[in-house]
């Protein structure tokens, strides 16, 4: 009787789980099936395509690096300290995940595409509109919360007494952070960075408002679909997906092997 009930329970859960797996994988299988390996290979060797995919991977990576440097200290402060306005700050950080991406693009354009900020960026020899700086900003704006929240959860899991012990052993605060806290939170930070990077790769709405050119892969896919139809856009989409998935799975596999699957 007990076994029968267990089987019924598992059958229902497996069936429902399978539905969502099918929903998520069928479009990808159909995409690769309809495009085919030859078409994917022919497309990837086109300069416009590989330049676009490389640009997307590169700019998304720069965005991740920028948020690693600035977002990790913020994540640590949010995880370890209680201060006035903390809840508000945490809510603000989640706003980019909620807003329509085109709206985020407009907001970024208003903030950094004209006025003092534009002049400041020009002073630093950085263009914003139709430039990689603008693309990176759009990607970061919408995906940074994934890294910051991932790192915050990682820091939260680490008992503050590890830092205490490190300090009694002679480590200053910076030293304790870099020698103990950061390595212990590394797995969550890497997973958060991967989530941010993969989210940034797919960013279209905000990027297209700020920079149609140089074309990142999502814009190129849209451009080809708009001008030449499905036949010319699908291979680019398939190439982009396969490259992203390979990089994503490789980094995640290394991370899980080194720090344990969570």
């Amino acid at each position: 009787m007990k076994n029968l009930k267990d089987k019924q329970f598992l059958s229902v859960f497996v069936f429902l789980g399978s539905l969502i797996i099918l929903f998520l994988t069928i479009p990808l299988i159909k995409l690769f099936g309809s495009v085919g390996l030859i078409s994917m290979a022919k497309t990837i060797i086109q300069a416009e395509v590989y330049n676009s995919i490389f640009l997307t991977l590169k700019v998304a990576f720069y965005g991740v690096v920028f948020v690693l440097i600035t977002g990790i200290p913020l994540a640590y402060l949010l995880a370890k300290y209680d201060f006035f306005g903390k809840s508000l700050l945490e809510s603000l950080l989640d706003i980019p995940v909620m807003v329509p991406h085109t709206a985020a693009g407009i907001a970024l354009l208003i903030a950094y595409g004209n006025g003092y900020m534009q002049r400041f960026l020009s002073f630093l020899h950085l263009d914003f509109i139709d430039a990689t700086t603008g693309i990176m900003s759009a990607m970061m704006f919408l995906s940074a919360p994934f890294l910051i929240n991932g790192a915050k959860e990682g820091f939260r899991k680490i008992d503050e007494r590890y830092e205490n012990v490190a300090r009694t052993l002679g480590a200053g605060r910076f030293e304790a952070f870099f020698a103990v806290i950061l390595p212990m939170a590394k797995s969550d930070i890497i997973n958060g960075a991967l989530m941010m990077w993969s989210r940034a790769l797919g960013e279209f709405g905000a990027v297209v408002i700020i920079a149609y050119h140089p074309m990142v892969a999502p814009v190129l896919i849209y451009d080809r679909f708009n001008n030449y139809g499905l036949k010319f856009s699908a291979p680019v989409a398939a190439d982009m997906i396969i490259i992203s998935v390979v990089i994503f799975l490789t980094v995640r596999a290394i991370n899980n092997k080194k720090y344990g699957s969570r």
Partner: protein
């Protein structure tokens, strides 16, 4: 010598202090108290890990009060080890060499791994060690930094009971072998009586009694300390019909030293009693008898119990030898 002067800290509704005490160099000092009495907070305050601490902390006449934890040179071992999971056992032990120069470090390392039996563990991942192994590594890591003072926070609580006595023996030898002073907090009387040169009893953020281990454990100076130490049968002198200055003092009687009989014995204080309840324990009976409207607790060996045919509601004499009445 460690000298604490008027140490005070408030966290939420809990207040610690003001506390003042001294710990002699190379001595083993145990702070004994219930869980939640502020023992860990006191250790963390001494180590400089707490914000908002008032008072003064001196070590060998040097004022440590405003120094950061890394400047104090006080080692700290927590009950759940806090080994760094991103490092091997050896790297954990040698962690302090990254930040300060350790005198005769190679010699010390060899001695530590032999003394604490951790030679076989050096290359192991700390996640795969047993509780006892983790604790030995945590102690080695703290001693390797050559601390003037070693603060141990319930170091044996998370260790398998079978291994506790072996680690206790190691701890006992640390002060002299490694020229350090230990402040150890615990709620375990056995640990305290085995390890301590001096003991402080701490309850609700206050130190109630401090002194030589034997004196504190056997001669509590207040009812609260006596109750905490497990003293039973605490009565005022008037209970024993003392008419002199002892009348208002408190006394305690060990339940093992109480005798029952059916005749009065002139050598003892004997009182009419009525047995209220009896609990059968493996090797004795717990007997609760009413004397002068107070309940007295006695532990009666089984052979004696059978011989006297004691049972509930039975009336008999409850006798106490004067030498077994301990003043509090």
């Amino acid at each position: 010598m460690l000298k604490i002067k008027n140490l005070f800290i408030k966290e939420g509704s809990f207040t610690l202090g003001e506390l003042s005490f001294e710990v002699a160099t190379n001595s083993y000092f145990v702070i004994l108290g219930k869980t939640g009495s502020g023992k860990t907070m006191l250790l963390e305050s001494i180590a400089g890990l707490k914000e908002g601490v008032r008072g003064e902390i001196y070590c060998d006449e040097k004022n440590m009060t405003n120094l950061s934890p890394e400047e104090r040179n006080f080692g700290f071992v927590y009950q759940d080890f806090m080994l760094f999971s991103n490092m091997s056992v050896e790297k954990n032990i040698k962690f302090s060499t990254r930040f300060k120069k350790i005198e005769k470090s190679d010699e010390l390392f060899k001695d530590l791994i032999s003394f604490l039996h951790i030679k076989e563990l050096l290359k192991r991942d700390v996640k795969h060690l047993s509780g006892g192994e983790k604790q030995r590594v945590a102690i080695a890591r703290a001693i390797y930094s050559r601390p003037k003072l070693l603060l141990l926070d319930e170091p044996l609580s998370a260790v398998d009971p079978n291994l506790r006595s072996s680690i206790m023996k190691l701890l006992k030898n640390i002060t002299k072998r490694y020229d350090t002073t230990i402040v150890h907090v615990t709620h375990n009387f056995k640990e305290a009586s085995f390890l301590a040169d001096n003991i402080a009893i701490m309850l609700d953020g206050k130190i109630l009694q401090i002194g030589k281990a034997n004196d504190v454990l056997n001669k509590p100076k207040s009812i609260d300390v006596a109750k905490f130490l497990g003293f039973k049968n605490i009565f005022k002198g008037s209970f024993f019909d003392f008419e002199d200055e002892r009348k208002d003092s408190y006394f305690s009687v060990d339940p093992n030293r109480i005798l029952f009989s059916y005749e009065k014995n002139d050598k003892y204080f004997c009182y009419k009693s009525k047995i209220e309840s009896i609990l059968d324990i493996t090797d004795h009976y717990k007997v609760f008898a009413k004397v002068k409207k107070r309940v007295v607790f006695a532990k009666v060996p089984k052979n004696m119990f059978d011989k006297l045919e004691l049972k509930e509601t039975k009336e008999c004499m409850l006798c106490i030898d004067e030498k077994d009445i301990r003043i509090i």
